[in-house]
C-alpha cells in the first residue's frame, strides 16, 4: 500500500547546528509534498512545500529537497534554534482528481534542540 514514512523517530541537535530530517514515500504518483511542524498541544503548522516538478525549494532558514528517483524528501533547518523543537511531519498528496484532495502523513519525528 501507499505510505509516507520518516526514517528516525527522534533527532537531537545542538543549538546553532543545521538539522536534516528525512522522509521516504512510496507513491511514485505523488505530486505535492508538505512539511509541517507541530508543537505540543497545537495543530500542524505549514513550514514549506514542494511540487514534483521541482527538486529544491528554499524558505527562511529551511530548505526542502525532493529526490524523485529514490522517493525521498528532506527538510533542512539552518542554524537550529530552541524554538524549532517540535514534532515534524512530512505529507504527500497523490494525483487525485475531481473532488478528492487529501494528504497522507508520515509518522512524526521529534526534533530536540540542545542549548
Amino acid at each position: 500500500g501507499e505510505s509516507v514514512g520518516l526514517h528516525l523517530p527522534t533527532l537531537s541537535v545542538q543549538e546553532g547546528d543545521n538539522s536534516i530530517i528525512n522522509c521516504a514515500y512510496s507513491n511514485s504518483a505523488s505530486d505535492y509534498f508538505i512539511w509541517y511542524k507541530q508543537e505540543s498541544g497545537k495543530g500542524p503548522q505549514f513550514i514549506i512545500d514542494i511540487r514534483s516538478n521541482m527538486d529544491k525549494r528554499q524558505g527562511q532558514r529551511v530548505t526542502v529537497l525532493l529526490n524523485k528517483t529514490v522517493k525521498h524528501l528532506s527538510l533542512q533547518i539552518a542554524a537550529t534554534q530552541p524554538g524549532d523543537s517540535a514534532v515534524y511531519f512530512c505529507a504527500e498528496k497523490g494525483q487525485y482528481t475531481g473532488a478528492n484532495s487529501k494528504l497522507t502523513f508520515g509518522k512524526g519525528i521529534t526534533l530536540s534542540v540542545r542549548p
Binding site: 503548522q45 487529501k102 494528504l103
Partner: protein, 113 residues
C-alpha cells in the same frame, strides 16, 4: 487574520454521551477536513467536504458524523464516544483539489471519562 478556528480547545465528555466539535474558517476555502490524531501519531483523515459533497474515509467508524451547513462552518459529531475516541481532533481547509493553502486549526483535545 484569515484562519481556521476550532472550539473548544479542550472538551471533556462522558462515555456514550454525544459530543460536537466545531470548526470555522475565514479563508473561504471550499474544502474542509477532519482529522483524528492520537498521541505521538500522525493525523488520520476521517472525512472531508468538497463544497457540500461529503467524502468519508473507508475506515472511519459510523460513530463519527459531520455536517457542513455553509462554507465557513463544519462540525464533527461523535454519537457515542468511547474511551478509544479520546484524541486531538484537527480541522483543516484547502483551496480545491490541488491542496493549495492547506491550513490546520489548533485542534480540540477530547477527553472521554
Amino acid at each position: 487574520d484569515a484562519m481556521v478556528i476550532q472550539n473548544p480547545r479542550y472538551q471533556v465528555t462522558q462515555f456514550g454521551k454525544p459530543v460536537t466539535l466545531s470548526c470555522s474558517q475565514t479563508l473561504n476555502h471550499n474544502v474542509m477536513y477532519w482529522y483524528q490524531q492520537k498521541s505521538s501519531q500522525a493525523p488520520k483523515l476521517l472525512f472531508h467536504y468538497y463544497d457540500k459533497d461529503f467524502n468519508n474515509e473507508a475506515d472511519t467508524p459510523d460513530n463519527f458524523q459531520s455536517r457542513r451547513p455553509n462554507t465557513s462552518f463544519c462540525f464533527l459529531d461523535i454519537r457515542s464516544p468511547g474511551l478509544g475516541d479520546a484524541a486531538m481532533y484537527l480541522c483543516a481547509t484547502s483551496r480545491g483539489t490541488a491542496g493549495y493553502g492547506y491550513t490546520f486549526g489548533s485542534g480540540t483535545r477530547l477527553t472521554v471519562v
